[in-house]
Symmetry: C2
Subunit: 332 residues, 2 copies
C-alpha cells in the first residue's frame, strides 16, 4: 500500500510503498477515504512527543470502508463506512487515562495511508449527514472538545461560553458543539477574519487577544462574565481568562501552547474558579460526541482537502496556524 512515512525527527513526510497491514484477531482493516491532521502529528515530527519511534505512519483521524476482518469479527460489517475512535486503552478510571493509553498514529501506525488496521470496537458508523472528509475531521478534535465542554466543563444550555484561539480544529468543534447544546458562544483570535468567520458559524462576537485587558472588555461586551472558558494557550494570558470568568465559573485547558500558566491566586480563590485540565476522552465521551453531532447535524469545518501525496505541505500549513478548520487528506 501507499503511505506517508516519517523516518525521523524533522524529516518530511514521504509517500512510498509499504507492506499492507494484516488484521489481527478482533481487528478490521479499513480502506481509507480520508484522514485529518492534528497538532499532535506536527509535534511528533518535530520530536516534541513522548515515545517516538521511526519509521512511523502518522495520523489519528480516519474514515474508510471495512475491507477485511480478523478472526472473531463478524463479516457482516464488511463494506461499511466507518470512522475511527483513535484513543486506545484509556483504562478503568473515567477521571483520567491510565498508563496504557495511546493514540493511533504513534506508537501504532496511523491513518496517513491507504490501509489501516484497528480493533473492531474502535470503529463507528459515520453520521449520515457527513461526507468522508467532514467525518474525518471529527474524531480526535471532536472527542477532545466534547470532554472539555461537557464531561469536564459541565456545560448547560443557556450558559455563556468563551472559546479562545478560534480557527484550530478543537476550538471550532468546541464552538459548534457548544452551539448545538444551546450555549451562547464568544471567541478570541489574533486575526479579525477568524472572529468574523466564527460569527458566521453562530458565535455572538469576539475580540483580539492582542488587545490589552481584553478579558474584562469581552465580558463587558457579552453582558457579563463567562460561565465556561475553553482554552489551549495557557501562559501569562490566563490572567485575562480569570478576569473574563464569572464568579464560580469553570476554565478548561486542553493545551498549553504558550507555556507556563501564570495565575493570580487571590482572583482564583476569591472568585471560586475551577481550572480544569482535559485531554482526549473516554469511549463514553466519544460516543456521546458522535450522538450530539448526529442529533444536531453538526458540520465540522474543513479548511482544505488535499491528496495524500501533499501531506507534507498540509503539515506545514497546520504548523503556520493560518488554517480555519481541519486539514484533510483525501485517499483513493
Amino acid at each position: 500500500m501507499k503511505a506517508l512515512v516519517l523516518d525521523g525527527i524533522d524529516q518530511p513526510l514521504q509517500l512510498r510503498e509499504v507492506p499492507a497491514p494484516q488484521p489481527q484477531p478482533g481487528e478490521v482493516r479499513l480502506r481509507l477515504q480520508a484522514a485529518a491532521l492534528n497538532h499532535r502529528d506536527v509535534w511528533i515530527q518535530k520530536g516534541q512527543y513522548a515515545g517516538l519511534r521511526f519509521p512511523i505512519i502518522l495520523g489519528s483521524d480516519g474514515v474508510g470502508l471495512i475491507e477485511a476482518v480478523g478472526e472473531g469479527v463478524e463479516p457482516s460489517c464488511l463494506g461499511q463506512q466507518v470512522l475511527i475512535n483513535p484513543g486506545f486503552g484509556w483504562g478503568d478510571n473515567p477521571r483520567a487515562q491510565g498508563r496504557a493509553f495511546n493514540i493511533l498514529g504513534l506508537p501504532l501506525d496511523g491513518t496517513f495511508a491507504e490501509l489501516v488496521c484497528v480493533p473492531r470496537a474502535h470503529v463507528h458508523a459515520c453520521p449520515s449527514h457527513l461526507t468522508a472528509s467532514q467525518a474525518a475531521a471529527l474524531p480526535l478534535g471532536g472527542v477532545t472538545a466534547y470532554r472539555a465542554l461537557f464531561t469536564r466543563g459541565q456545560l448547560q444550555a443557556g450558559e455563556r461560553v468563551l472559546i479562545t484561539g478560534i480557527g484550530g480544529g478543537v476550538a471550532l468543534l468546541a464552538l459548534q458543539l457548544a452551539l448545538a447544546a444551546g450555549a451562547e458562544v464568544w471567541v478570541t483570535s489574533g486575526q479579525a477574519d477568524k472572529i468574523e468567520r466564527a460569527c458566521q458559524l453562530g458565535a455572538r462576537g469576539g475580540i483580539s487577544y492582542h488587545q490589552p485587558k481584553w478579558g474584562l472588555e469581552l465580558a463587558r461586551q457579552a453582558g457579563g462574565g463567562f460561565d465556561l472558558i475553553i482554552d489551549s494557550a495557557a501562559g501569562p494570558g490566563v490572567a485575562q481568562l480569570v478576569e473574563a470568568a464569572a464568579p464560580g465559573s469553570r476554565i478548561v485547558f486542553y493545551g498549553g501552547t504558550v507555556g507556563t500558566m501564570q495565575v493570580p491566586p487571590a482572583r482564583v480563590f476569591w472568585k471560586q474558579l475551577s481550572l480544569l485540565g482535559s485531554t482526549m476522552g473516554t469511549t463514553d465521551d466519544f460516543t456521546a460526541m458522535l450522538a450530539l453531532v448526529d442529533r444536531a447535524r453538526v458540520l465540522p469545518v474543513v479548511d482544505s482537502v488535499v491528496p495524500l501525496a501533499e501531506g507534507e505541505a498540509a503539515m506545514r500549513r497546520l504548523e503556520s496556524g493560518q488554517q480555519f478548520g481541519k486539514l484533510v487528506l483525501s485517499i483513493d
Copy 2:
C-alpha cells in the same frame, strides 16, 4: 465596653473603652467569652485588604452568651452559649459569594471586644464537647476548611489527602475534618516539629517543602499520588503539587501567600487535574461543618489563649507563623 481598636494601617491594636453596641431588629447581642485570630486580621492591620475603614474592631470568630435581643427575636434564646457564623450576605449562588458578601470584623465591628451584635440567624449553639476557647477556634477556619475539602474538593472516605503548610488554623482544621470523614491524610511544613505534631493528631506522615522534588517523594512515601490536595501557598510550589497529585485528582487553593501560581499546563491537562479556588463558605457549608465537628467530636487545636489586653502580641505571633493551631483571646 472594652474593645481592641485598630486606628489605622500598621497601628497596634489598643484596648480601650468604647460605646456598647445596641442590637437592631433581628439581632442578638453577645457577651463574648472568647475570640480567635485569623490571618485576615493581620492583613487588615497591614492595609492589605479591600474596604478598609478606621477605627475598626477586628475579629471574625467569637463565642459568647446571648445577653440582649433586638426587636423580633425570641427572648427564649437569652443566656444561650453560641458561636457566630461570620460570613454575611453570601447571596443566591452556591458556587460563589455575591458582591454584598462580607465578613464580621470589617466593615462591621468584630469580636475583639466584650460585646458584639450580630443577626440572630448567624449564631449557632456551640458543640457541647467544646470549651469556649475551642469553639471560638472553629468558625472562619472551619467553614473555609469544610468548603475546600467537601463542597469544592468532593472528599470521599478512604481517599488520600495532602494538606500543605500544616500548623495554620485552616490547615489543621482541614486535617481534623478530613480525618473525621475517613480520609488518609499527609502534610507538609517547613518545620519538622509541626509535621510531628500533625502525626500525633492522626496524619500518616509528612515532608518538608524545602526538600527538592518533595512532591514525587511524598507521593512515593504515601504509596501513590494524592486524590485531594489542600493548599494556601500557591506560587511556584504549585509545580510540586501537580507532581504529587494522582491522575484525575483535585487541588484546592484557599489562599496564595507565596504569590503567582506557576503551573506547567501539559501536566495539568495530561493528568486531567482540577485546580479549584475556594474561600470561606455558605451557610450550608457552615452548618455541615458544625454537624461534622459535633458528630466526630473534633477538638480544634488551640495554640494559646491570652487575655484580650494581649491581642496585639497575639497578632505578632500569628504573623510570625510560629503558631500551631488557633490563637485565642479570652474575654471576661
